[in-house]
Symmetry: C2
Subunit: 175 residues, 2 copies
DNA sequence: TTAGAGTAAGTAAGTACTCACATAATAATT
DNA sequence: AATTATTATGTGAGTACTTACTTACTCTAA
């Protein structure tokens, strides 16, 4: 991958996350990346292709992030790691941009990729089963719903205290 | 309010909720509403003004919806009514469009109006206090976070079973 | 020498918005 | 009551500008 191609991907990620996909023009991306507008179309065919490339890179990233949780055998730790993941995203500004884009795209283009979350949901179900919860499937699903709620607040509500919210909810899943 | 003005508001609500604010052009709205494009600007000054008018109508609607919950004195019922509200939104297709817009706009324009939810959060805090929960503030906040998570899934995940999710989570807040 | 990386200057189709003008409803004045 | 003046509602054709995308071209490295 050439430098300029990477510049385009970085600039697009940042702008899409900040302004949204439709509101970000290819000329804005080119300017930010320091390249000619035509180069975007040389490398990615069209604007959709550029988004696809970013999302594809993202999938790899998500896989790696999830792998650490999925391969954990201690049930209690699995649940804890999911909460830690949220705090981890909030701690890294690079990860924040990336995850914000994931959510923004979900709302703007209405493409909820359930399959992406499936392995995590399965790992959680298994963990709750081990801990003898009497509805492990729903318990796992609920936890992921809560994650979405937390993410939403974190990204959109300026003064949101994610740490205290995460720690409180963590306790709710302990007994 | 004239018929044509109302047509514009309805068409815009539907299109904004479906396609997003930026992605919806004023010409599309005019066509759907069956009016000339110029009339939009006569009535609402500009595209932002049109959105503002829709959002303002929405605020009144939210106030009415919340009032029923806030004036409930039975603590257990307050919590139950919040869950009922979510199911109510899912049951009415008209309410669905309206609430979907609220969320879409949040993400697209990144304006999270915390103040809108404040009275509801207060009522919930009070309810949890009455029920002797030992962190009623966080309990209330968590419930609203969960509502956001539920809304997100309902609007974006096609096969999401909101009824079973709501009923399961309802139980979690009972003891 | 040939393919990929890169650019500047285009393109047609849209974008939000304006303006001159027509008509309908309301108010004021005879 | 009848006429006039004034506003509010509505339109169609236009505006300047932006949009995603193309094309013809140059440069560079293998």
């Amino acid at each position: 991958m050439t430098d300029k191609k990477e510049n385009i991907l970085n600039a697009a990620l940042e702008l899409f996350a900040k302004e949204g996909f439709t509101a970000t023009s290819t000329s804005k991306i080119a300017k930010k990346a320091g390249v000619s507008e035509g180069l975007i179309f040389r490398h990615f065919k069209n604007k959709d292709g550029l988004l696809e490339a970013i999302l594809h890179e993202g999938e790899e990233r998500i896989k790696i992030l999830f792998a650490n949780i999925i391969f954990e055998t201690n049930a209690k730790k699995v649940i804890d790691l999911v909460f830690d993941m949220v705090l981890g995203i909030a701690a890294s500004s690079d990860a924040t941009d990336f995850w914000k884009l994931q959510y923004k795209i979900k709302w703007e283009l209405e493409m909820y990729a359930e399959s992406k979350m499936e392995p995590l949901e399965l790992a959680l179900t298994n963990a709750f089963k081990k801990l003898a919860f009497n509805n492990p499937e729903m318990e796992a699903r609920s936890l992921l719903i809560i994650m979405d709620g937390l993410a939403m607040r974190y990204f959109l509500q300026k003064d949101f205290d994610i740490n205290s919210a995460v720690n409180f909810l963590r306790e709710k899943f302990k007994q």
